[in-house]
Chain length 144, copies 4
């Protein structure tokens, strides 16, 4: 994939997680702080890891997959305010040699307030390791 899909389109996402905007997520600028939005992205990413990637990885036979976050990008698209709820959409968008890239959209109702990509690297013995053939095959099915 050489071009990113539209990360602000809720139709891209097939996994959703919920979070709640906390008062302590706001800052003295009067809106939700950018670090809190990184926390919402984490909520989406880790529920996706747990509910989608983790399920696939557990069923591998003799093949280990353990991914850790290597890169985070967040695009801040709109101010957001307390109180309220957010929904975070997640989608696998790329499988590299030893890494996965996921895309995320943080939504207030249908308004995308932030989009994100996360690169997670497969690790073995303290270093990056190629994703094995079984895992690669199962991940390919999830790509857009």
């Amino acid at each position: 994939m050489t071009q990113l899909p539209d990360l602000t389109d809720p139709g891209l996402y097939d996994h959703w997680a919920d979070d709640v905007v906390r008062f302590c997520d706001t800052d003295q600028a009067g809106h939700v702080n950018n670090v809190a939005i990184a926390a919402y992205v984490e909520t989406g990413r880790l529920m996706f890891d747990r509910e989608v990637i983790g399920g696939i990885a557990q069923a591998l036979e003799g093949e280990v997959f353990r991914a850790i976050l290597a890169n985070l990008t967040v695009n801040y698209l709109a101010e957001s305010f307390w109180p309220g709820k957010v929904r975070i959409g997640s989608r696998l968008i790329k499988v590299g040699n030893s890494s996965l890239t996921t895309a995320h959209g943080v939504f207030r109702d249908t308004n995308c307030i932030a989009s994100s990509t996360c690169v997670m690297v497969n690790r073995a013995d303290g270093r990056s390791a190629p994703i094995g053939p079984q895992m690669r095959e199962r991940l390919a099915v999830l790509l857009p």
Copy 2:
């Protein structure tokens, strides 16, 4: 009121707010960190302020009420883990001369993982000020 009601009894509470346990709420001890639980209490307290106390205070005629947090107590009753949701019950339990005390219970399903009391002081001109008669009358109705 000289004795606290049972703050772990969900039947005490007539106002409920929701929060989500975030991965970043956990700490290296493997469970939800005590500071995150203080954030859940804040979610309950401020939604109660907004939806119950604030509504009452807005309708006062020529009487000002503006409360700020002066004291927080939290009792940690059970370990809690990611992921999951919490519900926070809130109830006004005391009206003093210039202060309110609220009680809160943080629940995972029916399990009370933490209870809390919060004292908020009415402020005017930078100092504590007696709660006016209209506000006092309306608050009295909310007491257990």
Copy 3:
């Protein structure tokens, strides 16, 4: 001890820890959020645990001590603002049958913005357990 010492007096404290006021510690009220102040208290308490209590507990012979937080109280004394540093003073103020109580003061320069007490309970086999005689003797030396 039936009465608390003055927790706002820096002279009470013999252990100090540092923290930094982060922008994301502020909230839309324009000041440092009450949950962030609970985090500063945690910084003080856990550095005290690590550097004072932990050192004592490690040298026990055949006696186990493992304390977990059971109760937190915070008194909010003054508004605080970004940026800046805070210093947190800590002192053991009570040794009960199975619990310790520590006191904490959060200071901006010499101004005490919050005071706190924390009760930690000794745990063994998933329940509270009496503090052993060696630990008790060593803790007694630390009391005011």
Copy 4:
């Protein structure tokens, strides 16, 4: 600038800010959580904004500059643990038509645990606006 300088080289940075690793910055994986590292980056960025960019912007004659965060990238380079301190280096690395890009390195002693770039967009009347000629001239001096 078509290529990023080495963001892990402390020699790149001419502005430094301090932060403290809090216990509640760790997560159940046993290390400092990725969201906390985004908070350290914010500490560096906003102290740089305040102490460098803000000083320049205040002295403009008849020209307004108000930047808000539009994009954050963080590269996670090494695990980090509680307790300890971090230093965050900051440097302006690009001036676009209506945006600035800053680079940041988060260091434990001399070990760069994370690098980051932040794009901030100049805003006027609720939309992005070109950076004026005075501001542009003063920013150019700060580039590598």
